[in-house]
């Protein structure tokens, strides 16, 4: 290769290299502008309401910051965006917090423990009404999601294992129409899909998350470093949340707004709320978060994820990713704490110190 060619190539490559700066992750430091991602789910609908009615702006103004709240139609994409650093906080479940951002090395703190699923997630069989009948069947579900976890727990409860069934990964968007086809006989999914499927007369609910209360937890989680440098952001999130909880309890219009935004009516929304244990006050949430139960349940979730190799390929045990609880005790490796339950901001809300 002649000299000018190689010089040209070197120059061009250097130019390309300088462009990669655009790829570099956001550096945590004190800042004023924050971005929050959320997706449609009964326990997270308050975020949409709070944005539309100015509650978000009210609290952001109070702390002299701006908060941009973005709704995602695709739940997984919202978590991926958060993990990649494009958002400072995201709504997700404890299980996904562990397997996506935490396993990806993004230290994540649960600022608000909003609710746990208490029947919202369910396993439905076609024409069979005992969970034991699931043996040998093909189960359609979103693999590695809370539905998969629910299936694992359900099988355990009747002394079966995952090898006793065949799992087929199926998009949640197509779950209801999948159930309508003859060769789909068992599904594990969540509301409102569950309600739709149960409308067909042969659908029998055989197991739901009310049998494992407190294991599937819905959170508002933020990047730990961002939170450490900007406690105002955590306080604003807590302020927004409990203002909205109050509105949901007291204002009929608030519930109507959320019902409509989630594509149903008040009756349908109530049906979902019924199977969701929503912590209406900070005190309830703190009691749950600081209780002993949450540690044992976190271990169950970690064990499931470890079994599925979702804690990273190098993980040697279910405790490969440490989980810190409000009392600073840690499950798993203390040197690799990536998920933290922190009651500080909820406590401030309870104490009226926001």
């Amino acid at each position: 290769m002649n000299r000018s060619v190689s010089r040209f190539l070197t120059g061009a490559v250097a130019a390309a290299a300088s462009l990669t700066l655009a790829f570099s992750p956001a550096h945590a430091a004190e800042k004023k502008d924050f971005k929050v991602a959320w997706s449609i789910y009964v326990g997270w609908m308050p975020w949409g309401y709070a944005t539309d009615t100015g509650i978000v702006k009210k609290w952001a103004d109070k702390y002299g910051i701006t908060i941009e709240v973005k709704q995602f139609n695709d739940y997984v994409e919202s978590i991926n965006q958060y993990t990649a650093g494009a958002f400072d906080a995201v709504t997700l479940t404890n299980m996904d917090a562990l397997s996506i951002p935490a396993a990806g090395g993004v230290d994540t703190t649960a600022v608000i423990v909003g609710d746990y699923s208490n029947g919202n997630d369910a396993i439905i069989l076609k024409g069979k009404d005992k969970l034991e009948d699931i043996k040998g069947q093909t189960v359609n579900l979103v693999e590695f999601s809370v539905s998969h976890y629910l299936l694992a727990r359900a099988l355990e409860s009747v002394k079966l294992a995952e090898k006793d069934v065949k799992v087929v990964n199926t998009s949640d968007a197509d779950m209801a129409s999948a159930y309508a086809t003859p060769d789909v006989t068992a599904v594990a999914t969540w509301k409102p899909i569950v309600s739709t499927i149960l409308e067909s007369p042969d659908a029998k609910l055989v197991y739901d998350s009310s049998s494992i209360p407190g294991e599937i937890i819905d959170l508002m989680a933020a990047n730990t470093e961002v939170l450490k440098d900007n406690p105002k952001f955590g306080k604003a999130l807590a302020g927004i949340w409990y203002d909205t909880m109050k509105a949901l309890a007291e204002d009929k219009a608030a519930k109507e707004h959320m019902a409509k935004a989630s594509g149903t009516d008040v009756a349908g929304f109530d049906d979902q709320l019924k199977t969701t244990k929503l912590f209406a006050t900070p005190a309830d949430a703190i009691a749950f978060t600081t209780g002993a139960d949450i540690k044992a349940k976190s271990e169950l979730v970690s064990t499931f994820l470890f079994d599925k190799a979702l804690l990273g390929k190098d993980a040697k045990s279910a405790g490969a990713i440490g989980i810190e609880f409000p009392d600073k005790s840690v499950f798993g490796e203390k040197g690799n704490v990536k998920l933290r339950f922190d009651a500080t901001y909820m406590q401030a809300a309870a104490d009226g110190k926001l």
Partner: protein, 272 residues
């Protein structure tokens, strides 16, 4: 000198071709290094070591849960769907395309239907296909067939009509029947042209396959990508994307070579 007259010599041609690949590689490496320096567990831009490790897990070691080699299993599953569907499409295209192009009666009857149907966006049919044919392989094959066959049929029909009128007349003056014209004059001339058309449809075929696998599957290259996307495993996704690209490229190359070897007359006829 005008820009249109500046042509790279051989060294420059090579260098210019390599450049975008090299630039991409360097940009990736630097971006990856930067993110990994900040967070050694970063999943967005894994280093090549992590990707090699992931490929080793997926391709060279059996999966501890099921005992199968995931990447080969995925490849086999996807390729068998894709090749089955393409074979069906090709056969449909040859038979229907030649009939429409050669027989005015068939053309008048089915030409407009095919023209309209080929405008239906296949992905929009996916929910319907899943309900009619279930979530199994049949629906996936049907999606690829619908997505590719109609375009191939139109292409073949147009190319049959493009055959010089003189050839068809000549065959008749040599005493050929309609069947003989179809099988000895038209069909052999359509085969190499169909290879061109199939090469162009490879991209859409992969697209439909991956889209279908993303919605419901228990194996396949598209299935794996959309599954591991759930935990942002770019160390698996990126090698899979490269692998799919390589497979598609090799299929294209194989078709091109087949055309050269099996139809030696075609290059000359095309130039004429």
């Amino acid at each position: 000198m005008r820009l249109i007259n500046i042509k790279p010599d051989r060294t420059w041609t090579f260098a210019l071709a390599v450049l975008p690949f090299l630039a991409l590689l360097v940009a990736y490496l630097m971006g990856s290094a930067m993110r990994l320096a900040e967070n050694p567990n970063d999943k967005l831009l894994p280093g090549f070591g992590a990707m090699a490790e992931a490929v080793k897990h997926m391709a060279l070691q059996p999966d501890p849960r099921s005992g199968i080699y995931l990447m080969w299993n995925d490849t086999l599953s996807s390729l068998s769907l894709l090749l089955t569907a393409l074979a069906v499409s090709t056969l449909i295209a040859l038979v229907v395309g030649i009939l429409i192009g050669l027989l005015p009666l068939v053309g008048a009857t089915f030409g407009p239907v095919v023209a309209v149907a080929s405008m239906v966006p296949p992905l929009a049919l996916l929910p319907i296909l899943f309900i009619i044919m279930g979530l199994g392989d049949a629906a996936k094959i049907a999606l690829i067939v619908i997505g590719t066959a109609l375009k191939l049929v139109r292409d073949v029909a147009l190319r049959v009509k493009d055959l010089p009128r003189e050839q068809i007349i000549k065959a008749q003056t040599l005493g050929a029947s309609t069947w003989q014209i179809g099988t000895r004059v038209v069909l052999p001339q359509m085969l190499p042209r169909l290879i061109d058309a199939v090469r162009l449809e490879l991209g859409p075929a992969w697209l439909f396959l991956i889209a279908a696998e993303a919605i419901a599957a228990d194996a396949g290259l598209g299935y794996r990508i959309f599954l591991v996307r759930r935990y942002l495993a770019m160390d698996v996704i990126i090698p899979y994307v490269i692998w799919i690209t390589l497979l598609a490229f090799l299929m294209d190359l194989a078709l091109r070579l087949l055309q050269q070897k099996a139809f030696p007359w075609f290059a000359g006829a095309r130039a004429a």
